[in-house]
């Protein structure tokens, strides 16, 4: 594939992520922060998001496995995840977190467990989407092109 085709593929893919609700306007803000001095800013922040989210999901799993669930603790972790996902524009993850917090407030175990499943699923999806998008960017750069804004 030539550079133009790779660029088109990338632009279409990125657009689809917005259309499908994976990403929102906040991700655009993130991209706009990147410049020649920090060309890897987006990748760095998203990588931090991956690490942080995986840690939080592990903590959530452990917290919800306890005999006596500490809902305050669960809520604190979900609050963190909601914040991070909102900051990078991972809209679908953020939305599940909102529902998750409501179940925490109600101390609804089943609701929480269901949300945990959902948030793990949405996280896994968005992670794959990001990885694919970064790969497409890399292909463009390798072919000597520049990433379309």
């Amino acid at each position: 594939m030539d550079v133009l085709q790779l660029q088109k593929q990338f632009v279409d893919y990125r657009a689809s992520l917005y259309h499908e609700g994976f990403l929102d306007e906040q991700f655009t803000q993130l991209q706009e922060l990147q410049d020649e001095n920090n060309p890897d800013f987006v990748v760095e922040v998203v990588s931090l998001f991956f690490e942080d989210s995986e840690r939080l999901l592990n903590e959530l799993t452990k917290a919800l496995e306890q005999q006596s669930i500490d809902f305050k603790r669960v809520d604190a972790h979900v609050h963190q995840l909601k914040g991070s996902s909102s900051s990078i524009g991972a809209q679908r993850v953020q939305k599940v977190c909102i529902a998750f917090r409501n179940y925490c407030e109600e101390q609804n175990i089943e609701g929480c467990l269901k949300c945990l499943q959902q948030v793990k699923h949405e996280y896994s999806l968005v992670k794959t989407k990001f990885e694919t998008m970064f790969q497409l960017e890399q292909q463009i750069l390798t072919a000597g092109g520049s990433i379309p804004v």
């Binding site: 922060l33 410049d35 922040v45 609050h79 914040g83 991070s84």
Partner: protein, 153 residues
């Protein structure tokens, strides 16, 4: 990219734009969330600010020279603005704001509160306690431009 307010900030008078900073303004950003710290740091650096981040209220107070075991007020680092998240474990942004406003040395430093929740009670509580502004997360570049224009002289 220039470091000044440029044409993007409608609220600035001619005099404000004419003010040149000898040094870059120094901002202390407090947030328990790692991603948010990285983001606010970049936003501020893009606006030509020097940034120090702290992950909680206690660390922030120590940096400011108000730590519980600091009697020496000469240790205070010069900071032009403090931006803090509201929801933090241990000491909330509101509690941090109160401590800053109680300090004779630091009470003049503008404090901006950030929150993901648009709660009117929370907002008035913070403004009453002396917060300069209350802003919603996630922060955008345009928010930082606005901050710089109105707060830092």
């Amino acid at each position: 990219m220039d470091g000044g307010c440029g044409g993007g900030c409608g609220g600035c008078s001619k005099d404000d734009i004419a003010v040149e900073f000898g040094d870059e303004p120094h901002v202390l950003a407090v947030d328990d969330n790692l991603i948010d710290r990285k983001l606010v740091e970049k936003l501020l650096k893009n606006s030509s600010c020097k940034v120090t981040t702290a992950e909680n209220g206690l660390r922030a107070l120590e940096y400011l020279g108000l730590g519980s075991d600091q009697r020496n007020t000469l240790e205070i680092s010069k900071v032009n603005l403090i931006i803090t998240d509201y929801c933090m474990p241990g000491m909330t942004g509101y509690e941090l704001l109160k401590k800053i406003k109680e300090s004779s040395v630091l009470k003049e430093v503008p404090v901006v509160i950030l929150s993901s929740e648009n709660s009117p009670t929370r907002i008035s509580q913070c403004l009453e306690e002396g917060a300069q502004m209350f802003m919603l997360k996630p922060l955008k570049q345009s928010d930082v431009k606005q901050l710089k224009c109105h707060l830092m002289r």
